[in-house]
Each structure stands twice: as C-alpha cells, then as structure tokens.
Subunit: 463 residues, 2 copies
C-alpha cells in the first residue's frame, strides 16, 4: 500500500490528461446524431481498461449501446468487486449557457476548487467518477497491491434508462458473479465531509381521475347541486395526510422499519444548516412528518406528494364551469421493506373508498421501484468507512438518498449482492446542467481512496 | 281588453313573417365582420317600434353599437314600464351543425312544438322574445287598450358584455325613468308551467396561487421535507366546506336571508324529476348543502366551486416534481343581500389564514356581481302572476335562477327600479348553440300575455 501514493503523485498529470481526452467524446446517448461517438467512447473505455491491467476486455453488444466488460482475476478464492459506471452523458443543452464548449474540456480554478475543476459534460457524471476506478486499478496493478479480483461493467445507456442492462445481467450472471458492487455515481456532502449513500427510496407513481357529470356544467345552473370533481379531488387528496403529516392510507407504514438510534445519530452528524436550506428555497419554514428532522423526512421516511393536478378552466380570465373531470398525478416515495406493488394496491383501494356518491374514481398505476438499503454494519460499508477515514482523516456520514437509482435494487435482485455508493462528486458539480465540472482534487482523492476500499474489503471478507 | 285576442288572431301570420325578416340580419356583435349588419338591425328595430306606435324613436349612439330607444307616453301621471331587450345575437358557430342556415329562418314542426318552431340564430335569444313586446305594443295601441306609458331600450351588445349600457343609463336617467322594468330574455320551466325568474345569484370570482419553494424541486430529494403547494392547496380547498357541505368562511352566511316557507313551498311546486336529472348528467347521486333540495341548492343558496386547478406536471407519463406553485380559480355564487365585495374580502382574509408556514398565498379577485331578487309580494310579480294565470290558466312558479344576469342589478342601482323577468323561451331552445329555435306557440303566447301584465300592473299601481 505504501507505493500507491507515490505512484499516484508521479502519474497524476497523465491521469488528468487521459480524462480530458475521454471527455472530448460527445457520447450523448439520448441523441441518435451522436451514435457513432457513443460507440467510439465504448472502444476508448475498453482500451483504457486494457491499459490499466484488465485481462479480458470485451465490448459487449446489446440491443442498444454496448456494455464494456473487463476483469482482472487474481485468485478465484479471493473476493470479487464489480465496478459499475457509465460512459454516456446527458445532452449538453442549453449550449448558450456554457462558458466553454461542453466537449472541449478545460481546467478552471474556482473558489471551491482552488486546485482547479475540469469543465466538460460528463466530467462528474459519470466519466470522471468512472475513470477514477480505472486509474485506481492501474495504481494497484502497477504497484502490485491489488488484493482481490475486480470486474468492470461500464454501460452506455444510463442517461436513457439503462434499458439493455437487465437483459445483460440475466444473460451474464456467471461472468458478473461478485461479492460486492462498487459505484461512484453519487455525491458526498462536502469536500471535507465524505459520505456513503446507504439507502435509496422506492417509488409508486399513480394517476387518478375523478369524474362527475358526463360533461362540463355551468356553475350558475349547477353550482352547489352536483359534486364538483375538483372540490372532491381536493378533499380526497387533503385526507391523505393527518394533522401530523403522516400518510393516512391504512397499512402504509406497516412494513416500515424504524432506523436504529445509532444510525439516526450518525445521520444527524451530517452538517446541515436549516436556515441556509430555507434561504436557498426561499421558504419561511420546512414542513413534514412530525417527529423527524428534515434530513430524515426526505430520506428515511415514506412520503406522498401530488406531482401534478389539473381540471376545469385554466386559461386567462374567468370561466364559470364545473368540469366533468379532475386529475392528479400522485407519487409515494417508499423506504426499504415497503413493497411498491403492495403500496400501489393499498393506495388504490383506499383512494377509491374516499369517493363520495356522485363521482366515479379511477386510479391508474404509472410505474414504481423498490427502495434499497445497505446496512451500516455490512462489511462493504465498513470497508468504505475505513477507506475514507484513511484518506480524508474522518469517517464518512452514512447518507440515505431521497431519490431512486433503479439499477441498485436491480443488481441486488439479479446478482444477489449489495452495492456501495462511494461518490466523490459534489452537489455543486452541475451535473445535467450547463458548466458541469469535477474538482481535480476530488478526482485524485477518489483514485487515492478506492484502493483502500479494496484493501479493507478483502481484509474484512477474510474475517 | 276584449279586442286584443281577435286582433292577435287576425295579424299573427304577419307577426311571424316580420320576425322571420328580422332574423335574417346576421347581427353578430362579437364579430367585427358583421358590424354593418348589426347597425342595420338597429335601424330595423327602430322602424318596427315606430310602426308599432312609439312616438319618439331614436337610434342612440354609444361607444359601441347603438341602443334603440322608443316611447309611448299616454299620460305622465300613469305608471311607466321600461322594456329591455337586445337585437344582437351570439355567433352561429359551429356552422356545420345547423340543419338550416342560421340566418335563413325556417319553421319546422317538432315533437315539443307541433305548431312549428322558428329556427334561426336569435329566434329565442333575444330577437324573438324582444319582438313579442313590440307586437304586444302594436296590439294594445291598435285596440286602444294601452293602459300606461311604455319605454323601450333595445341594445346591441348584450352578447359581448353590455359594455355601453352603464354609461347610457347614467346619462339618460331622466329619459329612462320608469316604475318597473320588463324583460323577456329567460325561459320558463315548461310550455304548461309558466314561471317568473324572481332571483339571480351574484358572483365573486377569484384566482389563488400557493407558492412554496422558489423553483420546482425533485420529489426524491425534497419529498416530505418541504410544503408541496399542490397538497397544501388541496387541503385549503377541502377545508372550505364542512361535513354538511356548508361553506366555512367566517361570515359567509351572515347576510343570507332564509326564504319564507311560502316561497319555498311555491318553488317546490316546480315539476322536478330527480331520477331524470341524475340520468341526464350520468351521476349516481346529487351532492350539496344539507337541508336543501337540489332546486334550492342551485338557486337560493350561496355556493363555492373550484372552476379550475393546475400545478406541477400535467403532461403524458410521470415526472417526479414538487412544483413551486399551484393555482386555482374559485367562484362563489351569492344570494340576495350578500355583497360580492364583502364576500371577496371575507374569502381573501380566510383563505390566506389557512396557509401553513412554508408557503405564501396570493388571492387575486377577478370580477363579481350582486345577486338580485324581486319579492313575490311586489306588485310587478303579482301583475306577472295574474297575466300568466289569465292566458295560461295557471299561475306561474317563482323561479330563482342560479346564474347571474349582471344588467338586472345594474338597472336597480342606476334606475332604482325592480325588473320582472317574464321569459317565454324553453331550456330546449338551444340558445347559444346550433339550431336555436323558438316555438311559434311560445311567441304568440308571449304577445298574448304581455298586455295583461300592463293591465294588471297599472291596476295594482293605482292601488
């Protein structure tokens, strides 16, 4: 392990240059105009894996863009880490807002990044974070400190829904067999506050329609005498939360596991400035389930939000109509152990039961996904924690993400292993936005930290 | 009075022909392409008033289309009736749905009108109903049975908001001085159930906006931790009605006068088939304020309805957004004695008070109007009642209209007199729709009934 840091110092200029080269490929998976560029990027990633020391590198065809596979098997009896990443990027629009062209990477110093930040589409999401793993492998191979087996699976359709991934997993279970999955495609809380995303919320998304009369009615002639679908829908939605802002759907919380006091305490260590949070959103108060902090409400608690509502006259001026229908899109964020199919059913049954006589109610499920969690006593989490402690000098905060990353529960289901989300990006990286960038310090710190994960994970796996 | 009916019988063919001629003018006030036709129609109405026996007929210029004025003053010491009507018509679109061209009037027999119905735009609304009054005057003048003074004020902008009327009233208070205003621009319940519209509801129409964060947020990252403007708006709207479907705004009912048992009993005489009503609307139940019938709910009771609601993602599919804002258009139908300015203020104060911390609420008044009522012991109502009883053989049902006719409270304010809404149209006349028509029987029955109103009104006014 002693030779890692000197190797990194010696080669860091090249590591940066190589990333800049990779960022020049406009691998926009959403736009068919770039398809050849996306394919060329896959080849470039394959080359990089070979150069870093992978033994068996393949550009695997799928129904969409290829998945680049590579492996370095040291000893089949040792643990195997599967690294996932993606080489495709978001479209760069709106181009006019970029200070430098999205596919002509440059390094500029910023207040947050006095060491410089690499500006380019994909710098952080995910070429930069993915390439850290390739360079970490090179470091370990060249310094003879790779302690276990490693496999890479780098896809080219993450920004368009990973549609070829499930089939690839099902067809390559043997090849992809692993003990732990490692991904750098999330952020950390701050440059001096490393964090590991230990949980993601699941989702149930439905659309509801309340139908009253068979046509729009004049509110002068019918107002007060027939059920108004908008008023009824508002009443039904309002009743979905109680005075403590808990969801009132019977059975909704039945499977929710309360977090341990220890994990809540660890979560609470994350620096959080409520006043700054409110100021950034321009709100005078936060709002949510009684008994939980803001960071708990948006991460470890299930919620119900209306994402869209419409009905009646919504144009300029006034029209005295009682509409025949009113609609809403409603989503529930779920936590581990809640099953999204079951929650969708509970919602549907309950919502229909709320309808008064005089209206009909339809509930149409859109889609959903399961929540995911990595327990903080899992050896993958412990290895990551020790790795960060080694290179950052402080242990990471376990962070439960409020959103969903559907591939993570997919990996667990298809490959049977847990995922460690070891991100080195920052919220300020402007991913999916103009002027995306990735701090040079973060990039190098990632390359430095990853080998320690390998080291501690192998040690802990040996028991 | 004995010579009226024979005169009508003798001349009814001509009366019908004259109306058909008037209906040929495409007096569409909403479409500038027809402006010359609208002006020509005003002249035709002026000619008709002269021929019917008016002494002083003027086509009075306004900022918009002219108002045709005519009078027949028998004796200044006698009561004066002011007849209001309008010569402009709704646009005829969609033209393709008319069985015969809208400005080529024809008479066709229908199941409801075995005597034939006149099909043309404006046949019922309002050329046909207005022309009844001109022909009734002719009958009275030619048979020397006009018992009082009469003034006509026939405007050409009713279908576009009567925008010149208020100024005309203010500038001509002396000329328009009258004891009672008579209008035929409403319907009756059925051919054998005459009715007089004794009340109209007022209106307060507002638009509300609930603002949360300063931008749309991702529901994964913020769901459950900040106030969702749609959920909050739904809750606020829901709270505007209690379990008995009464409006919860403090002071909302303070000025509402309960109808007398006598008037409620008279109203209940109107034939009403609840099952047919539900079937026509395709609803399994009616809905409204506890303690009132459907006909009471939509006429004599104030109500609150959401006429439009929108916020968040309303397109195809799913988007997990917590919108920065949610909006609704809300209107309240008011009853006599409620002041729409006061109600708008009460609503605004109450609605803002409902906002939880974490959102800002804006209420923007759109427009409004006062409710109107003619007491059923008013001599105008009594005269109308006796007139119907004479020609229909049954006394009329006092009918409280759920909608608003803004000119009626305007007349009361500017001219200080009550209005008698003596309509002879039917709901099935298809006013504002293709194939508008007016029963020949209704037209002639109107001409027959109106002189009796003059007769009884003069008698009752003399005391």
């Amino acid at each position: 392990m002693d030779r890692l840091k000197p190797y990194l110092s010696e080669h860091q200029e090249r590591f940066i240059k190589e990333l800049l080269e990779l960022l020049k490929y406009p691998s926009v998976s959403a736009d068919p105009a770039f398809s050849q560029d996306v394919l060329n990027t896959a080849d470039a990633v394959a080359d990089a894996l070979r150069q870093a020391g992978c033994d068996a590198v393949e550009v695997c065809d799928t129904r969409g863009y290829p998945i680049v596979y590579g492996e370095k098997v040291v000893d089949p009896s040792l643990p195997t880490i599967l690294v996932y990443g993606h080489y495709d990027v978001q479209p760069p629009d709106p181009l006019g807002l970029w200070k430098s062209p999205p596919f002509e990477p440059v390094i500029r110093e910023t207040e947050l990044h006095p060491e410089g930040a690499i500006y380019a589409r994909g710098a952080s999401d995910d070429k930069g974070q993915m390439y850290m793993h390739i360079k970490a492998l090179e470091c370990m191979v060249r310094t003879h400190s790779l302690p276990c087996n490693v496999k890479f699976m780098i896809e080219g359709e993450e920004e368009v829904g990973s549609s070829s991934l499930e089939a690839f997993l099902k067809e390559n279970r043997g090849k992809l067999a692993n003990d732990i999955i490692l991904i750098s495609d999330t952020g950390m809380i701050a440059k001096d506050v490393p964090s590991v995303t230990t949980g993601l919320r699941g989702l149930s998304y439905v659309e509801v329609t309340v139908t009253g009369a068979n046509r729009d009615l004049h509110s002068g002639l019918y107002g007060g005498a027939v059920a108004n679908p908008i008023n009824v829908l508002a009443k039904m939605i309002a009743s979905l939360h109680d005075a403590d802002n808990r969801v009132t759907i019977p059975g909704f919380y039945d499977r929710v596991v309360e977090l341990s006091a220890k994990e809540r305490a660890l979560m609470a260590e994350a620096p959080f400035d409520l006043e700054a949070y409110k100021k950034a959103l321009d709100i005078d108060a936060v709002y949510g389930e009684k008994g939980y902090t803001t960071n708990e409400r948006n991460a470890i608690r299930p919620t119900l939000d209306v994402n869209g509502i419409w009905g009646g006259y919504t144009g300029e001026g006034a029209k005295t109509v009682i509409p025949g229908q009113a609609h809403a899109k409603i989503s529930m964020r779920l936590v581990p152990n809640q099953d999204w199919h079951e929650i969708t059913e509970l919602f549907t049954r309950h919502f229909k039961s709320l309808a008064p006589a005089g209206v009909r109610v339809e509930v149409r499920p859109h889609h959903g996904g399961q929540a995911y969690v990595t327990p903080i006593d899992h050896i993958g989490y412990l290895a990551a924690s020790k790795a960060y402690e080694t290179t950052f000098g402080t242990r990471p905060v376990p962070h439960r993400g409020g959103g969903s990353i559907p591939i993570v529960p997919l990996f667990e289901r298809e490959l049977g292993s847990k995922t460690i989300l070891m991100g080195f990006g920052l919220d300020s990286d402007a991913i999916h936005s103009p002027n995306e960038h990735f701090g040079v310090w973060n990039y190098l710190k990632g390359i430095e930290t990853i080998p320690y994960f390998y080291h501690y994970y192998t040690e802990l796996a040996k028991g």
